[in-house]
Amino acid sequence: MTLFLQQFVNGIALGSVYSLVALGLTLVYGVLKVPNFAHGALYMAGAYVSYVMLTSFGASYIVAMAVSVVVLAVLGGSMEWLVFRRLEGKTPVHSMIAALGLLFFMEGTADVIWGPTFRQVPTPFDGVVTLLGVNITEQRILVIVAAVVTMVGLYLLLKRTLVGMSIEAMAQDREGALLVGIDTRRVALLTFAISGALAAVAGSLIAPLLLVFPNMGELIILKAFVIVILGGMGSVPGAILGGYLLALAETMAGTYVSFAFSELIAFGLLVLVLVIRPTGLFQKGV
Amino acid sequence: MSAPLLRVEHLGMHFGGLKAVDDVDLDVPEGEITAVIGPNGAGKSTFFNVVSGFCTPTTGRVALNGVDVTGLAPHRIARLGVARTFQTTKLFPEAEVLDNVIIGRRQHTKSNVLDAILRTKRLRTEAAECRERARQALEFAGVLHLEALPVGSIPQEARKRVAIALALVAEPQLLLLDEPAAGINEEETSGLTALIRKVVESGIAVCLVEHKMRMVMDLSDRIVVLNQGKKIAEGTPEEIRGDPTVIDAYLGGSSHA
């Protein structure tokens, strides 16, 4: 039972990160219909910015994360401004190829600056809390709490602010949004910025638990795609729920079956979805 | 007595709660023009989508020459002799007019990858035949002079004629035309009317969806009226012209108010 609880908490922590990454991906997809392959690189960059702030500038963890959020929001926004905006009206294939270009640019840049070495990120939250016989590192608690706070913040942003409501309106009906006078370009820019910020939070939170390296975003972005396809491309609740479910399934499978099996779950799910329902499980059919 | 070319029985196409087509019976006999009319959103295009296999109906069946084809894929139905055009005139963009029409003949050819690589006689004969037929279809539709132009550069009326040529090149038994005269002027419309008459005279049955009543009345042997998915009237142009339920449907029932 303790083992189960232990793994449950670990799964929730991992799921928090999965959900944050999937959220950024799904927001951008909802608004622009671009599957942003470079999103994993934003997550990687977010982790590196925090790493630099912590190690080179001696910033506190919270400050490091805040800086990372700002930098990545700018980076995400400039992706839209410099690249995707210019591909408006072209086929989705064009945007996808551009996204791949951005992905390899960012990974290549990280490789040039920091090299392929795995970096350990220090955290002040290295204590352990014991609860019902379960040992939880403070960092994991921080991950879970910060993710929930971020998600609530995102929810309020989407539902309570004009910007957020325009994002939702545009995700539902781009032409309609244009007709009712929404500045679709500004909304697209903001959506990318928000998606960058979410990736930064996720990258900064996970960094001390895992290692930081240039390709760290490659696997998680695929998992995020699986989550987003399962939850319905563009769906916010789908991304959150899917993130936690996949992470729990993976941790449990890793504990009770085998690690190799846990890694296959995401791909297995993807195949399953395609075979059963290519448009996504929770999405309305065409 | 032989079965009609197209027979549709109790056809229903429901999208969630919306019954876009609701229990429709309809026959299209050989050699005639049958028009399907009705106000916007009546389910006319959806009816075509079901008949041509793009939608699998919720209820009922579709039969061609007495053979049940309900739920077959669009390319299978096409190969059974049903050609169609789309409401928003569809052509293959980024291709020239002749190339557009050639592909319409592909369903009658057998050349495969091996033929292509070995450049067999079959491939060469078929390719030449497709080209010849495509030019004939373009000539029939009166647009042969445009054969070398990219489809993006030709006027709307010509596009509509090319779309008809593309449908005809397969030598269908039944041609479904979805608003062929939308967005063109009076004169062009009468030209198109003449073309459609020529199509029927060549032995192809036509099922026509159109809002332009003059054209419908001029051409049709029979008219079927849909409203909110349901068939509300059927008859000759004269019968339909004076039918109060039809007038009601078009006026949205406001005459009762």
């Binding site: 591909l87 294939v93 040039v112 | 169609r84 293959f92 397969a170």
Partner: protein, 315 residues
């Protein structure tokens, strides 16, 4: 379809240059660079069949390249099968796998298809890395012998290998050319231009996609197998997503849906990268933005530019 005479002459000249190249250039290193470019170009032609002519972005192309390479490599190094059997076996194997993967992947189109094939590509690398007993894991597979001789023809010299690879490249270009200029190629393009209309005129869009995907995988398999044999080595990176990305860069720079595009792009970029060896570190950092610029400003690549030029001159 007959070629216009001017193009025929140009082609013959090109072929002659390619044939004379190893005799004129007495630089084994350069010859081996060109060999690498040729084998990669074969796989890039495969990518073009799917992306350029059928309109779907397959991100498993690197994975298929790896499968071709490992199939040939394992057969030849581990089981000592002759190259002349291993090569076709590798191509068939890759094509068969492409067929099976296509059954699932082609239930989707567009972005979903790209995502799914990306996942397949990543999975292929993971399997290669984990299946150590067979593939040599992350170390890769070494000791793949050169092709055995047939009669008096020996393939242990670099020049002989160059001609063998050139033969397969020309064969690939011929196959792609004859497909594109046939009713089959027209069918691919019709499905790319409008799948809905293609179905309405009686084309089985599913089968067409499946065929294109299998051809695309087979060419990747051929390229990969030749690559493994001529390097004598294959590692997991050759089946990786980065490999797919490189192929995409070659294709986009050369120009999609053009017969010369894949070869020109591959030769040009691999050639430049050799000249700029000193900056190898910056390769990905530079290629990423180049790809983005190409996609935004020259989506038809060099082939597209070349088509524009004569029109300007005529004025």
């Amino acid at each position: 379809m007959r070629l216009p005479p001017a193009r025929g002459v140009a082609l013959s000249l090109l072929l002659l240059t390619a044939i004379l190249f190893p005799l004129l250039v007495d630089n084994p290193y350069l010859v081996s660079v060109v060999i690498t470019a040729y084998v990669t170009a074969i796989a890039v032609y495969g990518l073009d069949v799917m992306l350029g002519y059928t309109g779907e972005l397959s991100l498993a192309q690197g994975g298929f390249f790896g499968i071709g390479g490992y199939s040939a490599g394992i057969l030849m190094a581990t089981y000592e099968v002759s190259f002349w059997i291993a090569l076709p076996a590798a191509v068939v194997m890759t094509a068969a796998l492409g067929y099976v993967i296509g059954l699932a992947a082609l239930r989707t189109r567009g972005d979903y298809f790209a995502i799914f094939t990306l996942a397949v590509g990543v999975m292929i690398v993971i399997i290669i890395e984990r299946w150590e007993g067979v593939t040599g894991g992350t170390d890769g597979l070494i000791g793949i012998p050169p092709p055995s001789s047939i009669g008096p023809l020996r393939f242990d010299s670099l020049t002989a290998q160059y001609y063998l690879v050139l033969f397969f490249l020309v064969l690939t270009i011929y196959v792609v050319w004859s497909l594109v200029n046939s009713l089959v190629g027209r069918t691919f393009v019709a499905v790319r231009n409008s799948e809905e209309l293609a179905r309405a005129v009686g084309i089985d869009a599913g089968k067409t996609h499946q065929l294109s995907f299998v051809i695309s995988a087979a060419l990747a398999g051929l390229g990969g197998a030749l690559y493994a044999v001529f390097l004598g080595y294959i590692g997991p990176a050759m089946g990786g997503v980065q490999m797919t990305f490189m192929m995409l860069v070659y294709l986009m720079i050369g120009g999609v849906a053009s017969l010369a595009g894949p070869l020109v792009g591959t030769l040009l970029v691999t050639g430049l990268m050799q000249f700029l060896q000193a900056f190898a570190e910056y390769q990905m950092m530079a290629l990423g933005p180049i790809l983005v610029v190409v996609i935004i400003f020259f989506p038809k690549g060099l082939a597209g530019l070349a088509k524009l030029l004569p029109e300007r001159w005529r004025r």
